[in-house]
Amino acid sequence: MLQETVLNLVHREMGAKMVDFGGWDMPLRYGSQVDEHNAVRDGAGMFDVSHMTIIDLRGENVRDFLKNLLANNVDKLTLKGKALYSCMLNEQGGIIDDLIVYLMGDEKYRLVVNAGTREKDLAWIERQAESYSVEVRERPELAMIAVQGPKAREVAEELLHRGLDARAKKLAPFQAAWAGDWFVARTGYTGEEGYELIMPGAEAVTFWRALAAKGVTPCGLAARDTLRLEAGMNLYGSDMDENFTPLESGLTWTVALEPSDRDFIGRAALIAQNEKGNIAKFVGLVLEDKGVLRNHQKIVVEGGGEGEISSGGFSPTMNRSIALARVPAGTGDRCEVDIRGKLKAAQVVKPSFVRNGKVLVNLD
């Protein structure tokens, strides 16, 4: 039996093609996934992300707990409402999950973790929390809607109440404001401006319909995937999992090795990996020929060595195929990809293709 969000019937009513996504019955697309993608790049689109797991943490020692649990350092969160992206590692440095942590008070933080990793995340967090006496409270009664695109903030603000609209307008990127159980964060997974809004489940349908009435395009998981791929944002389970560390997943920037006396879980393994060197590079690829790069295709690099595509697809914005890939440390600015037995040339680029509607890659 698949789990359903409170918006399930509305998705079906809006003509969504539904799909099993990590045990959840979620919209894949309502019509053309390319139209949905373009709506987010040009205007505003909305995504039901209520399947994601919201966990509130509370307790006197909660900050010390998170400094141990996460590879990024929550000491960077000095202002209430600020958010931080981090990996949660095992002792071997493997990525258990990636998440966003929000500072909500002196002794209160909120985590948003992936849906597909919910059970192992909760088990791991609860186990680590024991010695810190931290209260771990999942919030399944809350719904979550992402509104993304150049027009997204303005439209969403018109529908906010309780003075939250004025506070939302003033938010810096990666910052949140809240009133009761309504929580507005200037975050997203598309490379565009927008909000991720958490709200009581009972109010989600009304809010979704109000957004639709204002012309916000409902978007499914298919568009969510091409948007995040263009933005160069990793997908847990494709681009990283427990077999890879952040250092070989393009996420070195999220690991806070300083201060050196912060002993987070996985730290020793990352330092050992750094000392050993020759760490695989995590790069972006742009296919020069026609065709489509797909997950798990092999990459052949000049001078020997092989890599693999972790997320491949078609970029509607660039009208080219792009991918995220793990390649040998010495890889230059060209490689070849094995597509059904034929080697096709690809350009190796920084893994960020499109931001705020603009293509960042110089296509040659």
């Binding site: 697309r29 065709g291 797909r294 078609f314």
Partner: protein
């Protein structure tokens, strides 16, 4: 819901086949198939002159979502491919029957009898 013309034959793997007056067989994918694939962004065409077998893969249609093998409904030789799809593969989404993929000169035209008619295809397509 989908459009399934009655004058065509259909394979279970979602190709349509049309016997032309000159004895060749024109092949494309069904409206049901294009709808299931979603936005089509690339078609890898077979080579003219290639020998194909009934049920053998000979082309690939790639949508944003996935790559899908296209099987020849009949054995024979590829005598033409729809080059226009190289520049506008999305034409298949607009009209899956006007935008054929390849033409086979069949070695055994009776293989067409193994295919489904429109009613038979609709019955199996609805299950997928």
């Amino acid at each position: 819901m989908n459009n399934t013309p009655a004058d065509l034959k259909y394979a279970k793997s979602h190709e349509w086949a049309k016997l032309e007056e000159d004895g060749t067989v024109r092949v494309g994918i069904s409206d049901h198939a294009q709808e299931a694939l979603g936005d089509i962004v690339f078609v890898e065409l077979p080579e003219v002159g290639a020998e194909v077998e009934a049920g053998g893969d000979c082309a690939v249609v790639e949508s944003v979502k996935a790559a899908s093998d296209i099987y020849s409904p009949v054995s024979g030789e590829i005598v033409a491919v729809n080059e226009a799809l190289s520049d506008s593969p999305e034409a298949i989404n607009e009209d899956a029957y006007a935008n054929w993929i390849f033409i086979v000169k069949p070695s055994d035209v009776s293989e067409l009898d193994q295919l489904l008619d429109a009613a038979g295809y609709e019955a199996i397509a609805d299950d997928h």
